[in-house]
Assembly symmetry: C2
DNA sequence: AAACTAACTGGACACCTGTCCAGGTTTCCG
DNA sequence: CGGAAACCTGGACAGGTGTCCAGTTAGTTT
């Protein structure tokens, strides 16, 4: 029987699973030590696989970082889509972001690190279009004003970043207050 | 004649001048390749001095990064203080930030990189208190509302960050629009 | 002028890194 | 069943890195 290109394959399937394992490990490594800490060896050790597995799936370290960025944006988008109810208000948003910052601070730091990495590698910037599109779509649920959307998007990025520098992460109430303010809802 | 401790000294003076030279070089290196690119050798080469000069003034690379962070915040604060008139409005603010992002994008990227570095090294966080104080002070000129101040601070950070990812940096008008919006001035 | 000391320097060391590679294993297709 | 293909692996190599150090220079003080 003929298999379509990219169809199910025991080898390929296990390979791609290991690939995902490596990318998850990479994000943890970045969260701990920044993009600088990403090496084939460190990521492989974090994933609990031999070093060569990393060099096989990602011949160069840059490939690993690019894939981690893509994967990271994807993961955030899907997580957001499944965690928020169909109809949500700014309180839901505040709760979700606060929980994310509290539980996954390292992951959030990793995302910003990859963000800056993309800023210095223009070839990667298109990958972030989806991220900004997501922010704009969320803001679009509350307002049609393009300036308000831009302000919302900037404020969310800024809030997340500032949260990383505080001893205690931001609370849901703090986030909601700022979001409501930015959306002119008070 | 007796010299006070820390008084003018030919050796010390030249030494501190060279120290500043190294820190400026470090920021350029970070702007180009991120914190990861900071090595004694790379910074010394960028500054045009022998490698040992860097290791003498900053025994460990971590010392170099900490000093670069402190220096960077200081430089930004003084630059802002001298570039803005005594009384300024949001248009002045937009113009200043737009010019900064346009001319010193790499430096701005370096600041965010150090920002994240500090997030992962809690001992450095106090150095950023001055930065946030500065933002709060600026916002305080336009409003007394603490939520508006927080929103302003987050939006400025977010705007700067997003500007780094665009093909063309943000314009003064775009920045002013968002700032006015966040300050509820329209 | 002599002692003192901060600043400077090149070199050395062990360690870690990216990348490549030749060979091995498992799975799948014809 | 046989070959192809994707995966996996340990090792090797050259090159870059942090850090230390003994020795030198040149202001400053006494």
């Amino acid at each position: 029987m003929r298999t379509e290109p990219g169809a199910a394959d025991g080898r390929v399937q296990r390979g791609q699973e290991r690939r995902r394992l490596l990318l998850a490990a990479a994000v943890r490594v970045i969260g701990r030590g920044g993009v600088a800490a990403v090496t084939h060896r460190a990521v492989a050790a974090e994933a609990g696989v031999p070093k060569s597995v990393a060099t096989y799936h990602f011949p160069a370290v840059a490939d690993l970082l690019a894939a981690a960025l893509r994967d990271s944006v994807d993961a955030y988008a899907t997580a957001l889509a499944t965690a928020l109810p169909e109809e949500y208000d700014t309180a839901d948003l505040g709760r979700y972001l606060a929980a994310y910052l509290d539980e996954h601070g390292a992951r959030c730091a990793a995302e910003f690190d990859l963000y800056l990495y993309a800023a210095r590698n223009p070839g990667l910037r298109p990958l972030l279009g989806r991220w900004h599109g997501l922010l704009a779509e969320i803001a679009g649920r509350f307002t049609g004003d393009p300036v308000a959307i831009a302000a919302f998007s900037a404020a969310l990025d800024g809030l997340s970043l500032q949260s990383l520098l505080r001893a205690e992460p931001l609370t849901a109430a703090e986030i909601q207050q700022v979001v409501d303010h930015v959306l002119h809802r008070r």
